[in-house]
Subunit: 131 residues, 2 copies
Amino acid sequence: MSNTRVLPLLDPDVSEVAKAPEAVAPCCPPLTERPFTSEEAETAARMFKALGDPVRLRLFSAVASHEGGEACVCDISDVGVSQPTVSHHLKKLKEAGLLTSERRGTWVYYRVEPSVLSAMGKLLTISPAAA
Amino acid sequence: MSNTRVLPLLDPDVSEVAKAPEAVAPCCPPLTERPFTSEEAETAARMFKALGDPVRLRLFSAVASHEGGEACVCDISDVGVSQPTVSHHLKKLKEAGLLTSERRGTWVYYRVEPSVLSAMGKLLTISPAAA
DNA sequence: CACCTGCTTCGACAGTCGTCAACATAGACA
DNA sequence: TGTCTATGTTGACGACTGTCGAAGCAGGTG
């Protein structure tokens, strides 16, 4: 289950994808545009929550900034916690749709899901109306 | 203690503020620029964590999108949890430096700390080097 | 085959978190 | 003064989370 179906943040439901098949639509409008609905909040919070732990943030940043946009676990696991804990956090990031993983021979490589970063960025955009 | 010193994300330490007094510097570089240090991760994670709860996200979005950029508690407390819980979450958002509050007569108004939004947005920017 | 290395899963434990009801406090107003 | 409304605080409780050591699994090498 290296590359299980993830991205629950961008396409939380299959029906959503069917509506806009050509481009993965961002889950939610900018935070400043209008009050989030319960569903939007649920979806977006999952994303923020995944980045709400220092260790996960370091792991994510390490992968995101690594050359080629991907990194082997061995490249990034020096964050001060045990190796099982690293694995645990990487799994969480994967479940949140922020990372994907692929095994190549001995090593496992993690890669940032690129559309997620921009989707989160848009969330924090100052909406034109508010500006 | 309505407007206690907050903003631990933007100026986590007084000494930091002393170094750059004219503008509140963003806490961290873009996530994609280089691996976060432990301190940077600690600071930024506090921010993400605060938004990592659906109820808090709805409250924050409600304040952020409200006219005038501020909202009375009574305007936004319809999020499906009890009033003490709303108060609890607003306190958390305040402690995270995302909101400020002010009492005006009978009501308490919450307002988004504007620099925080842009700081978080920059965090999620694709750094030029990675692009 | 046996053995080693890289990574994940399992099981357990302490600590944190979200929630509520009950109580407390601050202003407005009579 | 007393009372009413709007918020905040306290205390308790169940659920979730981060962490580790031990065990398991996958691939490479001999």
